[in-house]
Amino acid sequence: MMELVQLEKRHEDFARRNSRVIVASMEGLEDAQRTQEKFPHLLVLADSGRGLSEAIGLIDYHAAPGGGDADTPTTIVVDRDGVVRWLFRPSEVISRLSPDDVLKAVDQSIPADVN
């Protein structure tokens, strides 16, 4: 969740780049709603049905507490036409990109929208 805190703090920097931050996990609506309340500038997806995680191939089986499945931490930059511009998966599960890293990726992969 720490990465969400960081992304929320930098929401204006994303807005300046005409970019929306969408955060997704395999949790249900109730958890997603609580996350949405906590991070109002992020768009939270509740992917408990796995429609997104399976399509993209991100499920980390038995990775959640209790042996359940979870999304593999991954960041994908998609342009306004729905085309993927950049994908990042950390080499260790505890590693995350900082907001500066993500903003840099946006700047470099979609340079036309930098204001």
């Binding site: 958890d31 998609v78 306004r80 036409d81 505890i94």
Partner: protein
């Protein structure tokens, strides 16, 4: 008659090495805490490296003065270093091998927003760029 002064013996031989050995893992942990506080979420390899160096230092300190508490410190830091390496190596992720690739549209999908509104790949097309961040969950 030879007038010689006996060599002065250290009361605590290897004390500096011992203190360094005890302090290094703490420095690693504090550095990681500072790193997290500054929002840097990179893998803390330095922590395991610090602890491994500390194991070496504590082995030397124990060699210089075989005290019980030096042995205990050595064992504790050895366990700490082992746990850190096990955790870091055990959390390695395989390279991404799914269908998403730069220059291609995202595969079709259907999911929902937190308020229950449906959300598909068509919602990514519009006036804004999107950064999709997948996270583990609230736990």
């Amino acid at each position: 008659m030879v007038n010689s002064t006996p060599a002065k013996r250290h009361r605590y031989p290897g004390r500096l090495v011992f203190l360094l050995g005890v302090g290094l893992p703490l420095v690693g942990i504090i550095t990681y805490a500072v790193q997290l506080g500054r929002g840097r979420l990179a893998t803390p390899w330095h922590m395991a490296i610090d602890s491994t160096l500390a194991v070496g230092l504590l082995a030397v300190a124990f060699w210089q003065a075989r005290k019980v508490w030096r042995a205990l410190a050595f064992i504790l830091v050895l366990l700490l270093a082992g746990a850190e390496w096990t955790f870091l190596v055990g959390t390695r992720l395989p390279a991404y091998s799914g269908p998403v690739a730069a220059g291609k549209a995202l595969p079709a999908f259907s999911t929902s927003q937190a308020d229950g509104t449906p959300f598909t790949q068509r919602d990514l097309v519009g006036s804004q760029n999107n950064v999709l961040v997948f996270f583990r969950g609230r736990w």
